[in-house]
Amino acid sequence: MEDSLAVALAKGGDGDAYRLLVERYSRGVFRLAYRMMGNEQDAEDVVQETFLRAYRHLGRWDGRSSFETWIYRIAANYSLDLLRVRKRTSVTSAEGDHPCFGPGPDRLLHSREVQRQVAATLETCSEMERTAFVLRHFEGQSIEEIGVALGVSANSTKQSIFRAVHKLRRALEPLVNHP
């Protein structure tokens, strides 16, 4: 069943149609939320809240963007709000709970250090830098789409991405280009 049909049915009160959308996109939303939040618990909360908000506002999806893009926008915006709240209320660990994967002891150590640096650098980015970068780098959304989703200009989105890339480059270059 196509997303547009599932949305139309869900709007008419068909719970199974909405279930289909939840099952289709929950893993993707989790991946995005995890990259934004850096820990599983917050990412799980984002998944729940995203599908709850999407359900309440199904009438606002006009089909101009894909349902997937629309739901990722909701997830990104909610994560952004949550990051702002977290920043004000708690001190987060730079290491988060990022698990480490990879074969071989040397490569494992190196890969672990790289992953730790990526996580730590993303922690140092502002919420806007992190959101714009995650949407551009991992979700493949265009700068224009990200600007619309976050309610900022394309130029401001671009600058946020440049700053995030610059920080990552400074942190990772010694490990990646001169290991």
Binding site: R19, S26, I143, L168, L172
Partner: protein, 240 residues
């Protein structure tokens, strides 16, 4: 002088947002090396791991979610979206009817046309104020959680009310009805602020707005004007 691409242009090229640097990179070894260094860094970021979800994760998400989903109201009961349209259509139809009545009947129909037009306006404005009253009550009685308030519903209504409100304010201003114009102006400021706020409104901002609504007695004024319109309309009904 050769213009070498800077880091920002290379980033745009990496993400396929601009092809400007392609030709230069093909010809300039230094820039190509610089681009490859950037490429290595950004490719490494892809290794940022995301923990795999267990099998049946999707079903678990749904199980946790389904109890929280309130049944959606069918489209014809969602007044924020269709009622203004229906109202505008009804108004337009009645005004057209009045216009054509004026064109196709003899002179005395002109007075009736004006009366009819005023009556339509009174009914429509009364209905608009009733919807605004309901919206103000909902907004003022909302309960923020964890220092924030989800105003998704209120925003949707504010956007739809805003359009109508502007129309009525302009009409009232052109008719020289200054009291109604002032009230609609005040309401418009609140509607604009709600419509342009983040969906998750900080509790402090909500509290400020709520206080403003209270201090300016907006609900009271809306009620007074609404009942005045109803009385005037009732008075006209008996004479028409």
């Amino acid at each position: 002088m050769i213009d070498h691409p800077n880091e920002e242009q290379l980033v745009l090229y990496y993400y396929g947002e601009s092809a400007e640097s392609a030709e230069h990179l093909a010809a300039c070894e230094n820039c190509r090396e610089s681009y490859q260094a950037l490429q290595r860094v950004l490719n490494t970021v892809d290794s940022f791991p995301v923990p795999e979800r267990e099998e049946g994760y999707e079903a678990r998400v749904w199980d946790e979610l389904k109890g929280q989903l309130q049944p959606l109201r069918p489209w014809y009961r969602r007044w924020p979206t269709w009622r203004p349209v229906a109202m505008a259509t009804a108004m337009a139809a009645m005004l057209l009817a009045a216009f054509f009545a004026g064109r196709t009947t003899k002179r005395p129909a002109l007075a009736e046309t004006v009366q009819l037009r005023e009556r339509v306006l009174l009914v429509a404005l009364g209905a608009h104020l009733e919807r605004t009253r309901m919206w103000l009550v909902e907004f003022s009685n909302a309960r923020p959680r964890d220092g924030r308030l989800d105003i998704g519903w209120e925003q949707g209504v504010a956007e739809s009310l805003l359009e109508e409100n502007r129309l009525y304010r302009q009409t009232a201003a052109s008719n020289g009805d200054y009291a109604v114009t002032a009230l609609l102006e005040e309401l418009e400021r609140v509607m604009v602020e709600v419509a342009h706020s983040p969906t998750s409104m900080p509790e402090r901002q909500w509290e400020e707005l709520r206080q403003r609504i209270e201090e300016r007695s907006l609900l009271f004024k809306v009620n007074v004007f609404r009942s005045q319109f109803e009385n005037r309309e009732a008075g006209r009904s008996t004479t028409l």
